[in-house]
């Protein structure tokens, strides 16, 4: 029974990672109607870039935590501006194919450049310790991940619900065409949101590195869970992403404990159940 708090905390930490990846995915889908298959590839690139940075500037975890999101912001911006925007006029299927192709290319590039095998990353010095919590000894690093997610979530919530930009973003989730006709530079908003989503995903990749080993399949693995999160939470809803990430995180964690073979099936069952009860997701405004 003493395992329960451990698995609960494990679930929270994974939920934190999942939220960081899903937040951008759900905003991009909510506004641009693009299901971005390449989103988790940004997460993987974040992890691998961080690995390379730490290799060359020994142990510079904090440096890569700042640098990688910036690099991915630029990469995301370029993808939106020069690829996605051009394909947009052709329709959703083409957009989907584009992001699917990008995900594939990035995965192959990672294999070619870094090798098709797992790489372990050391937990950065100060965080490589344990503390006593709920009467158990628990690694600080997982709590650090949770803190990062909470901080990012709070900052995003403040932006979304307390600023003019937030009003524009939420309006664009409802109806981006009308936002455009009201004089807001919607293409620029799309660019920013896409790039920001990529940066957030890359940030998640950097902090995921030391927790999970990094390998070329890591993008696929988290992408499936992130899709489930945005479906369950409702497309375009940040609050929905928080709740759904917690659900899926805990479900994965306790699923492994209770039914080791079934944890993935549990996730799908939850998704199916929610879709039956409320097709637009828990907090979905979109149809």
């Amino acid at each position: 029974m003493s395992d329960i708090p451990v698995f609960f905390l494990h679930g929270l930490a994974y939920a934190g990672l999942l939220f960081l990846v899903s937040a951008g995915l759900t905003l991009v889908f909510g506004m641009m109607n693009v299901l971005n298959f390449a989103h988790a590839a940004m997460y993987m690139l974040g992890a691998y870039f961080s690995y390379s940075i730490m290799l060359h500037a020994t142990g510079q975890f904090w440096l890569s935590l700042m640098l990688c999101p910036v690099i991915l912001f630029v990469i995301g911006g370029l993808i939106e501006r020069f690829l996605l925007r051009r394909v947009h006029a052709l329709g959703h299927v083409q957009e989907l194919l584009l992001t699917f192709g990008l995900a594939y290319i990035i995965t192959e590039a990672v294999k070619w450049f870094w090798g098709n095998y797992p790489i372990a990353i050391n937990i950065p010095g100060v965080l490589n310790t344990t503390i006593q919590i709920f009467g158990i000894t628990y690694p600080v690093y997982r709590l650090f991940i949770l803190c990062c997610a909470v901080i990012v979530g709070l900052v995003m919530a403040i932006i979304l619900f307390k600023t003019r930009l937030g009003i524009i973003l939420r309006a664009a989730v409802n109806d981006s065409e009308t936002v455009n006709t009201l004089g807001v530079n919607v293409p620029l908003v799309f660019l920013g949101v896409f790039a920001f989503g990529a940066a957030l995903s890359g940030f998640a990749g950097v902090i995921a590195g030391p927790l999970l080993t990094i390998y070329p399949g890591m993008a696929q693995e988290i992408l499936i869970d992130a899709f489930v999160v945005i479906v369950v939470g409702g497309f375009g809803s940040l609050g929905g992403a928080v709740i759904a990430a917690l659900f899926i995180g805990e479900l994965q964690s306790f699923g492994v404990l209770l039914f080791p073979k079934l944890s993935m099936a549990l996730v799908y069952m939850l998704m199916a159940a929610i879709l039956v009860i409320k097709p637009s997701g828990l907090f979905g405004e979109k149809q």
Binding site: I167, N174, E177, V179, N180, T181, L182
Partner: protein, 236 residues
């Protein structure tokens, strides 16, 4: 002030506007009539840049606007009130209004300018509901909200798509009265309507559209006189 000359617009391969021309003079309220699916909404969307005409020209104050993006056209001073009352459902009434203000800040407003305060004075029911979500408003309130949201951008011209569709007769009168007030404040209006009996009370001039072309142009008397045209091109 707005001249649409011979525009052709497509949805994929379907050729919807086949050489539409019309013009608006400053201060007019012009009504575009026609049956379902003849291209009335597409005409407004083409002016607004939501649909891009492949051919033809649209000049606003002698500036060519074909090829510009909707937000650029909006910033020139053309406002658009889409059909189906596209309010932002998950935003509050107040946030919906804020979305209408260009750049987010009300510049030191002149006396004729639309401000949130003025909207609340004119529509106390919107003020009462300022913190409820747009989705919870009645159809009439949603229509008012879409129109005033556009007015808050202080446009010189507004394009209004079927503002009375699906509203109770009493509310139809409110909406038309409001458009009349707006016109009297100096804003030029191009309104699409199916209901010509309602439109005739407020409009100065009419265009009738059929299959992507303008087939009639005239003032109220001319429209009333042209009985066979009305019978052929308008719903009875």
């Amino acid at each position: 002030m707005l001249e649409v000359k011979n525009i052709h617009s497509y949805y994929g391969k379907s050729h919807v506007l086949q050489g539409t021309s019309l013009d608006l003079k400053e201060g007019e309220l012009v009504c575009l009539l026609g049956r379902n699916g003849v291209g009335k909404s597409t005409t407004l969307k083409s002016i607004m840049g939501v649909v891009n005409p492949n051919q033809g020209s649209i000049c606003f104050n002698n500036q060519e606007i074909v090829g510009m993006k909707p937000f650029q056209i909006a910033r020139l001073g053309i406002g658009y009130v889409p059909e189906d009352r596209r309010i932002f459902r998950s935003l509050t009434v107040h946030e919906n209004l804020l979305m209408g203000i260009k750049g987010g800040k009300q510049k030191n407003a002149g006396t004729d300018d639309w401000t949130v305060d003025r909207v609340y004075k004119l529509f106390p029911n919107l003020k009462e509901r300022k913190n409820s979500k747009g989705a919870y408003l009645s159809g009439g309130e949603q229509q008012m909200l879409t129109v005033v949201r556009t007015l808050l951008g202080n446009p010189r011209v507004i394009l209004v798509d079927e503002p009375t569709e699906g509203l109770a007769p009493l509310i139809v009168k409110d909406v038309l009265d409001m458009l009349d007030t707006v016109r009297k404040s100096g804003v030029t209006i191009l309104m699409v309507e199916q209901n010509f009996k309602a439109a005739i009370k407020v409009a100065d001039r009419f265009y009738i559209m059929s299959k992507g072309k303008i087939v009639f142009e005239g003032n109220t008397e001319q429209l009333l006189a042209a009985e066979d045209i009305r019978r052929t091109y308008l719903e009875v």
